[in-house]
């Protein structure tokens, strides 16, 4: 696990030293803030209940978290290949799962930091309303699980290509497909609709989290999705290490 920690520390340092980390954090926080203002205080607020405002906040945040996860993950391996530093990792006695694990955890830690930096928004609801703390906690758990899954998809995409743009496009395409499965599940007949709904990364599996309802099946789904794509990324790394 030490090797994972070394990779984790180095990659986390990159986010803090390069503009990409600050840029993503700034954009996500700005848009989250604007959307929250519109939902809670602005013209969209209307006569909503506090719980509904919080659910809308998590709904919006889930989209922004997913986009941020794709952007944060695409550089992780493709950049190493692009700049020629991958050879350093390839010729060192590191296992591929250690490289993938360290890089994934660093991106996840950074994404967690950005996500938790929005905590003041749900807390503002307490000024004029009342929501259950568990709804906030479950909502954030959902955001982090969704973020981890999209990061894992991004890891897989970045392992596939040496070009960051291609990696970004691949990651975005896979994520968008998994998002679209939910609306698609409503327009196709069973049993395909059940399969689509079950695989959908957002609708069915995230609705519970944004409402403050914790289903084990949703947690398991996100963990399984994360594991699957991290495993796929590791296998791609293994195949590419010995070209």
């Amino acid at each position: 696990m030490r090797a994972v920690a070394y990779i984790f520390r180095r990659e986390l340092g990159v986010y803090s030293r390069s503009p990409i980390g600050y840029f993503v954090a700034a954009i996500v926080l700005l848009l989250d803030g604007l959307l929250f203002y519109a939902q809670a205080l602005g013209p969209l607020a209307g006569e909503r209940l506090s719980g509904e405002v919080l659910a809308a906040f998590f709904y919006n945040a889930s989209g922004l978290t997913s986009v941020a996860a794709v952007v944060l993950s695409v550089r992780l391996i493709a950049e190493e290949r692009q700049t020629g530093t991958q050879v350093l990792l390839d010729t060192s006695p590191l296992h591929d799962w250690q490289i993938v694990g360290g890089k994934f955890l660093s991106a996840f830690a950074f994404l967690t930091g950005i996500t938790l930096a929005t905590i003041y928004m749900p807390l503002l609801i307490f000024v004029n309303g009342k929501v259950a703390v568990t709804q906030i906690l479950v909502g954030y758990l959902g955001l982090l699980l969704l973020g981890a899954s999209v990061l894992a998809i991004g890891m897989f995409a970045t392992a596939l290509s040496r070009h960051q743009l291609v990696a970004a496009a691949t990651g975005a395409l896979v994520t968008a497909t998994l998002f679209l499965l939910w609306p698609l599940s409503r327009v196709v007949d069973p049993p395909i609709s059940l399969v689509f709904a079950g695989l959908s990364i957002h609708g069915r599996h995230f609705t519970g989290f944004q409402a403050g309802v914790l289903h084990t099946r949703d947690v398991f789904y996100y963990l399984a999705l994360t594991y699957f794509f991290l495993l796929a990324a590791t296998k791609v790394m293994e195949a590419k290490r010995w070209e």
Binding site: Y6, G13, T83, V87, D90, T91, S92, P93, H95, W242
Partner: protein, 318 residues
């Protein structure tokens, strides 16, 4: 230390290397000489476990590169043609990271990194950001990362690539300092670089090892002779008159010398070229001194390795 048996690399139908077979004993410095694109980098990447051979067996320190690549990776330090540097990190930060991932004991890492920085002349730049360093310093950081874990085998691919003459000289001196008990493999298409830093030379051409041995052995084998340049004073202290043809005749009478001819007779110095079987420099020196001549210079003929190289790669008439 290194054994290769029928090792080759193909990309589809295209042969990039081999089959090549050779052995390198522990502690030897071996230079891979060849034109660009003959397979030097492919060979070194295979030994550094960065590229999978498509045929043959390659062993480093007794471990097969295919069966136990991690054991090989622990033994090897590798400097690719373009050093793999994180340009956003400081020199020390980068070397510490490399030390960590290469398994250096964390308790001794600080000391080891400082030692390597001193050895590679990076002491004053240890806090500098790598991306802000000159090309020469970045190349040194590349060498430092390859030796930070004190590897038994050091592999360097074109280590003087892109350096200016002063930096080249410093890099050669650094390579000589790094030798010790280490096995070193260096690739280059620059002849003097190999001859000045290595014990043995392997000449690669068209993906195959076409010759191997010391510079003397290659000269003797390829050119059929070793060429030596001798310079003596034309006004020696002994007062013995210097007749170019007479001096050449005397040198030709030495056992092993196949030819001797005056090349340049100046007002103060007479230079002769001598061809011989094997290294006869001590005998030449002794004969000249015994004949009362003042020897100013006696060394291997310049550009000899170049002649050998051109003969081997089929460019002798170029």
């Amino acid at each position: 230390m290194i054994q290769l048996s029928e090792v080759g690399k193909h990309y589809g139908d295209t042969r990039a290397l081999g089959p090549v077979s050779f052995e390198v004993p522990r502690g030897k410095a071996v230079g891979f000489l060849g034109l660009n694109g003959v397979g030097k980098t492919t060979l070194l990447r295979i030994l550094a476990c960065d590229l999978r051979p498509t045929q043959g067996v390659a062993r480093v320190g007794g471990s097969d590169v295919l069966e136990d690549p991690h054991a090989v990776r622990r033994l090897v330090g590798y400097l690719p043609e373009s050093p793999p540097l994180y340009r956003d990190m400081s020199v020390t930060g980068y070397l510490r990271f490399v030390g960590h991932i290469r398994g250096v004991d964390p308790a001794s890492l600080t000391e080891r990194v400082a030692e390597v920085e001193e050895l590679t002349g990076l002491g004053e730049r240890r806090s500098s950001i790598i991306g802000e360093l000159s090309h020469g310093y970045r190349q040194r950081v590349g060498v430092a990362q390859a030796i930070v874990h004190d590897p038994e085998v050091l592999i360097m691919d074109e280590p003087t690539n892109g350096l200016d003459p002063v930096q080249i000289s410093e890099m050669r001196e650094l390579i000589r300092r790094l030798r010790g008990s280490r096995t070193i493999l260096v690739s280059s298409h620059i002849l003097t670089e190999i001859s000045e830093t290595c014990d043995e030379i392997l000449v690669l051409h068209d993906g195959e090892v076409v010759a191997s041995g010391t510079e003397d052995e290659l000269s003797a084998r390829v050119l059929g002779a070793t060429a030596v340049t001798v310079s003596i004073r034309t006004t020696p202290a002994s007062g013995v008159p210097v007749e170019p043809d007479e001096v050449a005749r005397r040198l030709r009478s030495i056992e092993g010398v196949t030819d001797a001819r005056p090349r340049q007779a100046g007002p103060a110095t007479l230079t002769l070229e001598v061809d011989a079987r094997g290294d006869v420099r001590p005998e030449l020196c002794r004969a000249l001194v015994e004949a009362g001549h003042d020897v100013e210079r006696l060394d291997r003929a310049p550009r000899e390795l170049e002649r050998v190289f051109l003969e081997l790669v089929g460019g002798g008439n170029a």
